[in-house]
Symmetry: C2
Subunit: 215 residues, 2 copies
């Protein structure tokens, strides 16, 4: 394997797409072997790119034959770290937080939201998907005790930094941030900002172009 | 402007990031002029790439001076089509659907969810952010009558294709799909799949690498 630090970010971002696709192929489509062309075709990624991405991590598949779907899925899963379960603490039990706790596809990706916190007295004590919502004051203790490294923030923008600070102090090393604001964290903590509004824009761009053509 | 079909997909996907960043600069930071280096720096995009992306759409800014923040924001907004409001129909008033209807940052991106539908009798009649949830049977009529072109699907995976078919028949031309499944639609309809589980994987990848280093 190449030095991980030298692997392009774009490659890392494509790995989950390969993983999902391979998982679907093995589970629903009963496919045993796949070529880089077919795998790329399903994801709109050129086959040369697929081969290059995978080559950073070793030798997979056989020239002229293709990849064994299950083997490649296992290998990519291991690279991604999704072959084990990562417990996560979620703060913010509003609609989005509840949707995330109930979201079915996280487990396959190695994520399990094991505890949920809020500061709203109306929400504390509620049960979402078998998890009782606890006071956010209990979060640091719970995170430390269970050695949780992953935090999810689904609170309003103006509360997000306070929550992030608490998480970092408790030992969280990776934050998935759904609040539409930038977080400031120490260098050894990763933040992934999930900005839902960005997703819609490419669709609006296409719509607006289509209307222009129709005129 | 270049032929729109020849503009790289990656460029189009970076435009919303520029737009959000410019909007924040003009609203919260009171910045008048920005260089491609500063704009790129905030987004982790090389300045050469920023200049190249914008150059597809015309001449903006002045060499050695930079871009006027408000002018560039307006121009990018117009390119994206977010300078007007696009009404959208949402089907699936579960937690995720409710979170989307309540999400504050869509309006800035030109999206307004004007009507909400579900097939669950317990949800029909509820009010979310001033919108009454209607029966999904009323969706086609409402979409046609109001000439809605944008549909959002936040139903379980096994119901998504049926909803998509109804939307297409009613005249929807762009679908934002939150159901974790692939949709089959005619060529003139765009689909953007929002797969929340993909977002977590890059964080887990970093965590898993970090633990390996710590051992």
């Amino acid at each position: 394997m190449k030095d991980r630090e030298k692997i392009p970010k774009a490659t890392i971002e494509r790995l989950p797409l390969y993983y999902r696709c391979l998982d679907k192929m093995s589970t629903f489509e009963d496919v045993d072997v796949v070529s880089s062309k077919d795998l790329g075709g399903k994801l709109d990624i050129p086959s040369t790119q697929v081969r290059k991405d995978l080559s950073y991590y070793g030798e997979f598949g056989r020239r002229g034959v293709g990849y064994n779907v299950n083997e490649l899925k296992r290998s990519v899963g291991k690279i991604l770290g999704v072959n084990r379960t990562w417990p996560a603490a979620l703060v913010g039990a509003g609609n989005l937080g509840r949707a995330l706790v109930n979201y079915g596809s996280f487990k396959m990706m190695g994520l399990e939201i094991t505890c949920v916190f809020d500061n709203d007295l109306d929400k504390i004590g509620n049960v979402i998907n078998d998890r009782e919502v606890k006071s956010v004051q209990d979060m640091p203790g719970k995170v430390e005790k269970n050695n949780i490294k992953l935090g999810i923030i689904s609170v309003p923008a103006d509360a997000a930094q306070t929550v992030a600070d608490l998480m970092v102090e408790a030992g969280i090393k990776a934050i998935w941030n759904f609040a539409p604001t930038r977080l400031y964290v120490p260098e050894d903590v990763s933040v992934k900002n999930e900005d839902l509004a960005v997703g819609i824009v490419s669709l609006i761009y296409h719509l607006s172009w289509q209307e222009e053509m129709d005129v």
